[in-house]
């Protein structure tokens, strides 16, 4: 039986006391352990940010990439060796700011991977600037007079652009979060989990209390995650209502399944020796 320790490196986590990452981290490890996925079968690609400092704390194939680019690297990993379980892991800044293009396009591709976004509504590693999901009006170091923009809607954007698993979790609810992450990992296709994450150090607005007044469980609200319209509706509510659970899940062929070259074996297993191009070259005559 696998357990959390099997995924735990020797590097001591450096998050602040009370940081939501301290809950997402065990939840992710428990999900992997409960699914019986051995650490060396997992490639986890991180962004740059507080959350992504987690790259040091996991014991598995951990790739600490650059800000905003966890998804492209993860895609390359998946396509090169689709027998791996691939998890991309990012903060909201990396996911919806710097890297939003990859987010939208990964949804479209339905590539089989899990995308965990630690959404603390802030750029925390850089000490507290506005993120795309920060609420309108919020005062941050980069917006001391309040954010002008409407906040980005990751859930709805994912649903309407092809993600086949779209969920929201809350860092203060470890069991709920663990269950969602498990389902996301099990899902075949692009599984996106927006994790509402507490940042007690810099985010003094979206606190535990703030969330408690807003979150509700979809499972208790009779939500049908197979229903597109219900999913879009749940995702486009005003921010006084924050659904937790799986908003949307359908089954569609994955990106890898659309590539004939991957039908027999992972790309990395193909021999590079004795590739014969003679006949092809002859067509250039």
């Amino acid at each position: 039986m696998l357990n959390q320790k099997d995924y735990t490196s020797s590097y001591t986590p450096t998050w602040c006391p009370g940081c939501g990452n301290f809950s997402i981290y065990p939840a992710t490890k428990m999900a992997l352990a409960q699914l019986g996925i051995e650490p060396h079968r997992v490639a986890m690609v991180f962004d740059i940010g507080c959350s992504s400092n987690g790259s040091n704390f996991y014991h598995l194939y951990s790739f600490h990439s650059i800000h905003g680019r966890a998804l492209p690297v993860a895609e390359g990993v998946k396509l090169a060796n689709h027998s791996l379980h691939v998890i991309a892991d990012s903060g909201d800044g990396g996911a919806y700011g710097e890297g939003i293009s990859h987010f939208v396009h990964s949804c479209r591709s339905n590539i089989d991977m899990t995308y965990l976004v630690h959404d603390n509504h802030l750029y925390s590693l850089t000490k507290g600037q506005a993120s795309p999901t920060s609420n309108r009006g919020m005062k941050t170091k980069s917006t001391p007079y309040g954010i002008i923009d409407q906040s980005f809607n990751p859930l709805a954007t994912a649903i309407i652009n092809g993600a086949t698993f779209v969920a929201q979790a809350f860092s203060a609810d470890i069991p709920g979060m663990t269950e969602i992450i498990k389902q996301a990992i099990q899902h075949r296709g692009f599984a996106f989990v927006n994790i509402l994450q507490l940042c007690p150090t810099f985010n003094k607005i979206n606190t535990l209390d703030w969330y408690k007044q807003r979150v509700y469980k979809l499972s208790e609200a009779g939500h049908d995650s197979g229903n597109y319209t219900q999913a879009v509706t749940a995702a486009t509510q005003p921010s006084e209502k924050l659904p937790l659970g799986i908003l949307y899940q359908i089954h569609k062929p994955t990106y890898e399944e659309g590539i004939p070259s991957l039908s027999q074996m992972p790309l990395v297993q193909r021999s590079v020796d004795r590739i014969d191009i003679t006949e092809s070259l002859k067509t250039y005559n």
Partner: protein, 580 residues
């Protein structure tokens, strides 16, 4: 009589099918057993603007496009006006009487001017007006006096590749025949430039991008991610088309950042991966280039240059990105930069790029430009050298089981740390873009930091040892030594030969591996050279700058060109003669 030795050019409006008919002419010449080099000019527009295609033909290898033009097909007035100065004294000018005229005194009396109603002939043959280009092909064959068989062959091939209805080919063959017959009737004396069909020696015709793509496939590159950008795009097309046959994964990504990110992810997993772009796309890749350097992931990046700055002249040629590539991305890390000089080198060096990338766990940038990427050259398949595949150091699961304390970034004598690939039991580690220790954990200690910088730079020393030094080519005891890089090689080869015929001894050094720089070899060349000139397709003399930085030496002359056009051999000859 210049049998099988002539330069043909066709010009007309964008939309006239100049590029496709030019390629067909090239191919027909190849099939006639000739050597061929071609070059096309066209603006960055789908319609409008002026397009040209020229093909230099010879029984012996052609290394660059040649001038003057012996046969010009002018499908509109501009083609007459713009190219009349490029003609040989005894050239043939076939112009379009449907829309152009050749005024009196425009051509020399020694030149033969034939007006042809290209469009009328097309329509009469049952083809559409757009088949004026096929008429032109037939007319060209009329001049060359070699029968219509090869023209017919390439027309049929062309339409079958495009999956057109058989009838389309039939009327186009008829249109070509009409052009052929028309010229035959007009031609008073047999053409001075003629084609004699020779037994096919098995040559093929490849653009640099074709050769590079096939070299990569041959080398086992089965992952290619890219975003289209002229002049690199055709590599994407080739890979995409060959995907099922060669079990490739080809991803047209949302942008260049994703293209290189995917390639790095794949390279990290142990797959040979590549991306290709031009300068603007490369700019977007620079941040990730540094990630590959830091994380020590093998990846091959093709940068096919076009004139800039910025969008610049997308469909033209230049060698302006060298310095950018040499120091792209923040901070310092070793990288390999190479620039093939012709089709054969494109095929060969791309293979070595993959070996070097994997052996040194490093990004390798292969520099091309529009001229080498897009110009077709006939090659003998036996000149396409295959390089032994070397995959660098990768641990095995058994080794990992034996020594459980695997250190991904272990500090070794040559700086190369054996890789564990994702999926291997016992090889878990952090592949880290942060500065890290041997284990891969983020590390900020002063001594460890300096040690890891040193470890990475040890690889540079090792690369420098492995990379072949450039060799002097051409005459020994030369009056002048040219130093160059990339596609300029061809024009220099041609120029050196022309100057030899004129009694001048010139030799040259093509620096194919630009980084790490072969400083000792270059110093040696300077020591022995009478005079040195650097030849580059840019304004500021970028190789000259890099060379000076690496050696302290300056050439006696810089021969620079930055008008979007490649060097032409005859221009080089003229310039060089002024320097002698």
């Amino acid at each position: 009589m210049d049998e099988n030795n002539f330069n043909w050019k066709i010009g007309g409006e964008a939309g006239y099918g100049i590029l496709s008919i030019g390629a067909m002419f090239s191919r027909a010449m190849l099939r006639a057993g000739q050597c061929v080099f071609d070059y096309a000019e066209y603006p960055s527009l789908i319609r409008g603007g002026h397009n040209t295609y020229e093909v230099s033909v010879s029984p012996k290898p052609v290394y660059a496009v040649r001038r003057p033009i012996h046969v010009l097909v002018a499908l509109n007035q501009q083609a007459v006006d713009r190219h009349v100065d490029e003609l040989a004294d005894d050239a043939f000018i076939l112009f379009n009487t449907d829309n152009a005229k050749v005024g009196e005194g425009v051509c020399k009396p020694s030149q033969t001017v034939i007006g042809i109603p290209f469009e009328e002939l097309a329509l009469k043959s049952g083809a559409e007006r757009v088949s004026r280009n096929t008429v032109a092909l037939g007319a060209s064959f009329g001049i060359l006096g070699a029968g219509m068989q090869l023209a017919k062959e390439v027309i049929e091939l062309n339409f079958s590749l495009k999956k057109k209805d058989a009838q389309v080919a039939v009327v186009n063959v008829a249109a070509a025949q009409a052009g052929y017959d028309f010229v035959k009737k007009q031609l008073k004396k047999p053409g001075r430039y003629s084609l004699r069909i020779q037994s096919k020696p098995g040559r093929i015709i490849l653009a640099g991008n074709d050769a590079l793509a096939w070299g990569a496939i041959k080398a086992g590159c089965n992952f290619f991610s890219a975003y289209p950008m002229t002049p690199a795009t055709s590599i994407l097309h080739t890979f995409a088309a060959q995907a099922p046959k060669y079990n490739l994964v080809v991803k047209h990504t949302e942008d260049e950042i994703s293209a290189i990110g995917c390639a790095i992810g794949a390279g990290y997993c142990g797959v040979r991966s590549m991306t290709a772009t031009s300068g603007g796309g490369f700019a977007l890749m620079t941040e990730s280039l540094g990630m590959a350097g830091m994380v020590e992931v093998p990846v091959v990046i093709v940068e096919s240059m076009r004139p800039g700055p910025s969008t610049g002249m997308p469909t033209w040629t230049g060698q302006e990105d060298l310095k950018f590539i040499l120091s792209a991305s923040q901070s310092e890390f070793p990288r390999i930069v190479m620039a093939p000089g012709d089709v054969e080198q494109s095929y060969q060096y791309i293979q070595s790029a993959f070996n070097l990338a994997e052996k040194y766990q490093s990004p390798v940038v292969v520099i091309m430009d529009k001229y080498i990427s897009a110009s077709h050259k006939s090659v003998d398949p036996s000149d396409l050298k295959n390089i032994k595949i070397e995959r660098g150091q990768v641990v095995t699961e058994n080794e990992l089981a034996d020594s459980p304390d695997y250190l991904r970034y272990v500090d070794t004598a040559d700086g190369v740390s054996p890789r564990a690939l994702p999926g291997m039991k016992g090889g878990m580690h952090v592949a880290n873009s942060d500065e890290h220790n041997e284990r891969g954990f983020s590390e900020e200690d002063a001594a460890e930091r300096a040690r890891m910088m040193d470890k990475r730079y040890k690889k540079q020393a090792a690369m420098a040892k492995e990379i072949p030094a450039p060799e002097i080519e051409g005459e020994s005891h030369a009056e002048l030594t040219l130093i160059t890089w990339g596609s300029t090689r061809g024009a220099i080869q041609e120029a050196v030969a022309m100057l030899r015929d004129q009694g001048h001894k010139i030799n040259f050094l093509q620096i194919a591996y630009v980084s790490p720089f072969p400083a000792e070899k270059v110093k040696d060349v300077f020591k022995h050279a009478k005079k040195v000139a650097i030849v580059e397709n840019n304004k500021t003399g970028q190789l000259a700058g890099w060379l000076r930085e690496q050696t302290g030496l300056s050439p006696d002359f810089k021969i620079l060109k930055y008008d979007g056009r490649p060097f032409f051999a005859h221009e080089l000859v003229a310039t060089i003669k002024e320097l002698l």
